[in-house]
Structure formats: structure tokens, C-alpha cells
Subunit: 120 residues, 2 copies
């Protein structure tokens, strides 16, 4: 299954799914799937999240609580779940505020190893 297909499957199978991006900590997206009617600026999202994830990794390292696995960020308008693929890449799943957070987390956890295998 291609990266795009994995991402599409993820987004389309979660209520409120808007888009998903596989990206590196260097801020460069590898692949993405965004629903047609969603105004997501993937370039901006990638750059901003890469910066943020590096900061989160640094904090986790300082606090010595093991490797980063999953981050979720809920704001007034959206809900984002991020999962580390390996030391270089991560997947960002964007849901709307009323999206099914639990199912999003579950599918992301299930599908992340598939992306990891393809990236080797």
C-alpha cells in the first residue's frame, strides 16, 4: 500500500478526519492526504510541527521519560494527533474539534508500523 493510500484510509475512516501528513523532523513532508473541502496549509503545518516536535523531543530527553510515542493537541477548532514513526519521521493526523479522537488514535497507532516498514 502506498503512503497516500495509508493516509487516505486513515483520514476517511475517522469521523471528522480532515487530513494526514507523513513528515520528517526537518520539516519536509513525504506525503499527504487532505480532504478536498479542507483549507489546510500543509507546508505551513509541516514546518511548524517539525519545529514543535523537535522541542517536545528535547523536553522528553531532558526529563528522561523514554522515547516519544504520541502527542495530541486540542485547540478551540481542531484536534491533532501525532505519532512517531521512528527517529526521523512522524505522522500528523488532523481532525475537526468534534472528530472521533479515540478512533483516530487507534487507527494511527495501528497504521504507523506500516509506514515504518515502507520507510526502511
Amino acid at each position: 500500500m502506498s503512503f497516500r493510500e495509508i493516509l487516505k484510509n486513515l483520514v476517511e475512516n475517522v469521523d471528522g478526519g480532515q487530513g494526514a501528513v507523513i513528515m520528517g523532523y526537518d520539516g519536509i513532508p513525504i506525503d499527504e492526504y487532505i480532504k478536498d473541502d479542507v483549507p489546510l496549509d500543509v507546508q505551513l503545518l509541516s514546518v511548524e510541527y517539525a519545529t514543535l516536535l523537535k522541542e517536545i523531543k528535547r523536553t522528553i530527553d531532558v526529563l528522561k521519560t523514554g522515547d516519544m510515542e504520541e502527542i495530541s493537541i486540542t485547540t478551540g477548532l481542531s484536534r491533532i494527533v501525532v505519532r512517531a514513526v521512528n527517529q526521523e519521521f512522524f505522522i500528523v493526523l488532523v481532525l475537526d474539534k468534534e472528530g472521533n479522537f479515540g478512533k483516530g488514535r487507534y487507527l494511527l497507532k495501528r497504521d504507523t508500523p506500516k509506514v515504518g516498514e515502507e520507510l526502511q
Copy 2:
């Protein structure tokens, strides 16, 4: 109810609860409750999370997705849930890796307004 009592109630009522801290974005903790047998360095945690939360706030502002509400960070050894009280303060709840994430989120969401009222 005092801050300490609210935090104790939170930590003791979640399976795997280790501690909770009310702190400002300036890195100064207001109050904390840490279980006796947990080696949590509250000072270090506060400083690191304040830096991180400021970075998360900045990212959310750039992406224009509304106010920050809740952050969760899962690592190899722990699970942390953070909830904004207002523009100045937030609460950090620390669970062990097998802790009850759902109940932790629920209680934190329920009790954060109580802390907000006391802080006014």
C-alpha cells in the same frame, strides 16, 4: 477546596496517577501534589513544560486553530496530560505508562474550571 486538595483528588482517583502541578507559563509552580513513592522533579518539570507550552501556544497561534485547550504526551515511560486554566496558568497531570488516560483527561477537564475560579 484548596489547590492541593483539588490536585490530590485528581491524582488519587486515576489509576496510575503520579502527580499534578498547577503552574504558570513563566515556569513557576503554584501548587503541586506528588505521590510519596514517585521520583518527580517538579522544579525541572515546571521549567521544561513552561518552555514547551509556550512553543505549543506559538504554533497554535501561527496555525490559527483557536485557543489551546489540552495537550497529551505519551512516551516510553509516562503519559502526561496538560490542560490550560487560562492565558496564564495550566495544570500538568502525570500518569505512568499504563495509567488510565481516559479517566485522567475526564477528571482534569472536570476540575480545571475549579482551579480557574480560585485563581480569579
